[in-house]
Symmetry: C2
Subunit: 225 residues, 2 copies
């Protein structure tokens, strides 16, 4: 069964406070996004990689690829106004049946074992969502009122959320609503049960400058092994 990696990197990087969107920031000698693509390629060199970025970033990405001599094969697609529309555009590029990993471009530390678990579960059940349990106490807030949540039941959701292509394409045929916070929520709205599997703790989403330091440290420690 053919495998696809749909990598979405549409963020404008507002939270980083800088001018360079975080997917283009340099981490261990190359832009974050290149590490992300490489993680999928090293998982399976036959995977087909579809990269969804804003059209306005096409030129910059080409320039980066030249500068870093980045030649890993991938199809570049223009993103939409929301993540939903970007993913939908990317799915339009997949004509065949198979398994698709939908992944945040700013999660370069996705682990091989997580990818294996996601693929296996998605083959069996149609979908797989990698999660890690909260390692801290958790509270629910509602205005001034807060109450503790049982942290053993609270799962932090990572990507790649992984799907049988036909299922997720069907789900993305629905009209957009604000309830769609991730791909799993789109499939769920179409009436399907979501299946969780274990993610990897290093698989952080690079959102804050601090996350770049952490990711850099993890990469260095992995390189030393």
């Amino acid at each position: 069964m053919k495998k696809f990696s749909l990598i979405v990197a549409g963020g404008s990087g507002v939270r980083m406070g800088g001018e360079v969107p975080k997917q283009f920031m340099v981490l261990s000698e190359k832009p974050v996004l290149m590490h992300t693509l490489e993680a999928f390629y090293s998982y399976d060199p036959d995977i087909r990689i579809i990269l969804v970025i804003p059209e306005s970033h096409f030129g910059y990405w080409e320039e980066l690829c030249r500068q870093y001599r980045f030649q890993l094969p991938h199809t570049r697609i223009a993103g939409g106004n929301t993540r939903f529309h970007s993913v939908k555009n990317g799915l339009g590029e997949i004509p065949e049946e198979g398994i698709v990993f939908i992944h945040d471009g700013v999660r370069p530390l996705i682990g091989r074992s997580t990818l294996l678990r996601c693929e296996e579960l998605a083959r069996q059940k149609g979908n797989a969502v990698p999660v890690i349990p909260a390692s801290e106490s958790v509270r629910w807030t509602d205005g001034d009122i807060t109450r503790p949540l049982d942290r053993s039941r609270v799962m932090l959701v990572q990507t790649p959320q992984t799907f049988r292509v036909s299922l997720i394409k069907e789900a993305y045929g629905q009209p957009f609503t604000d309830e769609f916070t991730d791909d799993a929520s789109v499939l769920e709205k179409a009436g399907y049960q979501i299946f969780l599997t274990e993610g990897n703790r290093e698989n952080i989403k690079i959102t804050w400058p601090y996350d770049l330091y952490m990711a850099d440290a993890v990469m260095k420690s992995q390189a030393r092994r």
Copy 2:
């Protein structure tokens, strides 16, 4: 008003997989716990620091203090069987009214601005709990069934949870129950409303080997500033 820092480091370090409990692991040239004590001392040199560790660790801690020439004044108290009992033992050392910061020994990256916010709010309202919003999608799980939670309402709880001494001592007079997952839950059970303030994202709890790499990276980047 007198300030106290009650630092609890009772963990046996099972999750780290090693023999050295994580509070004693070396981070940027000295044990984690020494960084934690120093953070409070540098916040306010007049703060009184009470360190609660298992009695079986007394000798090792003394040896570490000698070895690293660590001379920061603190009172060392024996922990109890649970975190609740350890905190209760520590509170027993505080005779006066004041503000007490109850802090995890394995959170060396507590920030000065978080401490200021906690102190201010605890003075006004009697308690303060530092939290950060979840930066990822969040799911609630119950057996096979999972459902998305509105992540804007989900807060990850840090320490130091900060209290007026008389209030938290009163709350710790209650009999122990399993519902007590942190100090805020003890005060809440005694009928008080909990007040949240902003923590700092770097203030991670060192739980996994990976967290040590991250903490190290953060310390190095802070040193460069």
